[in-house]
């Protein structure tokens, strides 16, 4: 198991290195001179002297690879530079807004699990019955609905018409219900479809046939064999869709004025505050990668085939 984890992290390191190179290079694609932007946003008159000094200060006169090394060295120590707008350390700003986003995505993940697992199982067990049809129709609509539109429908029903829930902001439990629900819709729908398909496939597996032949009760066959084996790929699928959840959070935060990091990043785009954007991308990617690593480890722990298969190669 430890060997598996070590190998998995070993694969990640070169990829993360290339990720950082890519992010660094993409920033160089940006229109306009960063030194100029720095001067404009710091309200320093852009004289030739000031421009030259800013260029030197930002290290823009060095060769590209040296710029990268300096940037990566600082980034590894948690120094992503200063925001061009507020002049504050970028990482601090991002970490200040991050908990709200994590709260939102965490809640959505919870909702996804709570709804998709029973519904997926129900649809598979009652195949072609009305429960199956209803669940599938719901899942189908769920994957086709833009989250922000669903969010406005919720606002219209629960805030405008019924006056039950607050339409925006963060506060008590009532504030998180609608944002988390809108964010969870897509992943719930995807999960239901995936779990149902897996269950149906596993019902015809030989191990299940054998379990039946041994005379196990139907309940034990379904829960001990079919369900357990179907849950494993679902864990991976959730890890993969976490990216969608993180991305979707940006849109949902905008709708509900949720004070999260996504909303902050959208403002940064309009301000052309590149250090913030860069840090935002790196932090979100790090979270995504970390979650997937955890999922993979969990997966290998549940299913010995995975870690043994790797050991032989």
């Amino acid at each position: 198991m430890l060997r598996y984890i070590a190998r998995r992290i070993g694969i990640l390191i070169p990829i993360l290195f290339l990720v950082s190179v890519l992010v660094f290079l993409m920033l160089r694609l940006a229109k306009g001179d960063p030194a100029m932007a720095y001067l404009r946003l710091s309200n320093i008159p852009p004289t030739a002297d000031a421009l030259e000094e800013a260029t030197r200060m930002l290290g823009l006169d060095l060769p590209l690879w040296e710029q990268y090394l300096r940037w990566a060295g600082r980034a590894l120590r948690g120094d992503f530079g200063l925001s061009w707008v507020t002049g504050q350390p970028v990482l601090g700003e991002i970490l200040y807004y991050l908990p709200a986003t994590l709260k939102l995505t965490g809640m959505s993940l919870l909702l996804t699990l709570v709804f998709s697992i029973p519904l997926g199982v129900l649809a598979a067990l009652r195949r072609d019955g009305w429960a199956d049809h209803l669940t599938r129709a719901f899942a189908f609509m769920g994957v086709s609905m833009p989250s922000f539109w669903f969010a406005y429908i919720l606002i219209f029903i629960f805030s405008v018409t019924l006056n039950l829930l607050p339409p925006m902001g963060m506060g008590g439990f009532a504030h998180i219900i609608m944002p988390a629900t809108s964010l969870a819709l897509m992943s719930t729908a995807i999960n239901i479809r995936f779990l149902r398909a897996n269950m149906l496939e596993n019902m015809h597996a030989r191990s299940v046939l054998y379990a039946r032949a041994r005379g196990l009760s139907e309940r034990r066959v379904i829960w001990g064999h079919v369900f357990r084996n179907s849950l494993v790929p679902v864990v991976t699928s959730i890890g993969m869709h976490l990216g969608e959840l993180i991305g979707g959070a940006v849109v949902v935060e905008m709708v509900f004025a949720w004070p999260g990091v996504g909303r902050y990043a959208v403002m940064a785009i309009f301000n052309r505050d590149f250090p913030i954007l860069q840090c935002f991308l790196l932090v979100m990617t790090a979270i995504f990668v970390l979650c997937n690593l955890l999922v993979d480890i969990l997966y290998a722990w549940i299913d010995p085939r995975i870690r043994l298969q790797g050991d032989r190669t």
């Binding site: 086709s144 609905m145 833009p146 991305g247 590149f274």
Partner: protein, 279 residues
């Protein structure tokens, strides 16, 4: 599957094809169909309810909602078409090179793919738009850049599985050149799969485009686009929910139609890869 279910599924697919055709027709013939100029501002009739002259009413600047919805189809489908063209071009080139040539080229290209697959797609697209600047063209580039790697991976594995088939080996033995083998024997079956993949993804990409436009990063106002229309109407949800509901309904219905079509096409063309694809 029971007979009855099959019957209903057929019905659904026909309905979906019809809806998709309507949306596509709207996109293609927007200038001919739209009853009014989608950009014509008339503040004297702002926020007027549906009625003669303006069948679906007007928005906060007095622009005709129906015309904007029709033109919105063009913005949405047009950008998705451009994205898919880019994605197919890049990923076919990369996938064929990696799968058919193999060796070092394969290793390098697949590492590059891995890097692109490491990011959460929507966040990477946001970042790219932030760097390149807002606007439809940049949104198209950003979404294409965040999706090609998925396709390249799949195409590579298809090419790998095809290149050792007997008919390909036979072509090689008879002295066909590499390009001829690729063009005549490997690309045709790959492109069949690509069509399925692309159709399955149209809805997903429409949602991406609409999401970025909703954030104000894509199509810039006053150009009509569904996501932009919803964003424009945010503050009118109390008195005029219609302005939010209609464009959203357009997104929802078209995405659903294309998703249904994609599912049907997949079940038809390859019953094996029936799950787990697409995100």
């Amino acid at each position: 599957m029971s007979c009855e279910t099959a019957f209903w599924q057929r019905r659904m697919v026909i309905a979906a094809a019809f809806l998709a055709a309507v949306v596509l027709g709207g996109a293609l013939f927007a200038p001919l169909i739209a009853p009014n100029d989608p950009l014509a501002v008339d503040l004297t009739i702002r926020l007027s309810p549906p009625g003669p002259g303006h069948w679906l009413g007007t928005d906060h600047l007095g622009r005709d909602v129906l015309s904007r919805l029709i033109w919105g189809a063009r913005a949405s489908l047009g950008s998705v078409a451009a994205i898919l063209c880019l994605v197919v071009l890049i990923s076919t080139a990369v996938g064929c090179l990696a799968g058919y040539v193999g060796g070092k080229a394969d290793a390098v290209l697949m590492r590059i793919c891995d890097v692109f697959l490491t990011f959460p797609t929507f966040i990477l697209a946001m970042f790219m738009v932030g760097i390149l600047g807002t606007g439809m063209v940049n949104v198209i580039i950003a979404i294409a850049m965040t999706h090609w790697a998925w396709y390249a991976r799949i195409i590579r594995s298809l090419v790998l599985s095809l290149r050792n088939r007997k008919y390909v080996l036979a072509a090689r033995v008879t002295g066909s050149s590499r390009t001829r083998i690729l063009g005549r024997h490997i690309l045709p079956p790959v492109s069949a799969q690509l069509v399925v993949l692309a159709t399955l993804d149209i809805g997903h990409m429409m949602l991406h485009v609409a999401g970025l436009s909703f954030l104000g990063l894509g199509v810039q106002p006053p150009s009509p686009e569904w996501g932009v229309m919803i964003n424009d109407a945010r503050q009118y949800i109390w008195e005029h929910p219609r302005l939010i509901m209609l464009p959203g309904l357009m997104i929802f219905v078209s995405v659903m139609a294309f998703n249904l079509l994609g599912d049907a096409l997949r079940d038809r063309l390859d019953p094996h890869v029936s799950k787990g694809m697409g995100a």
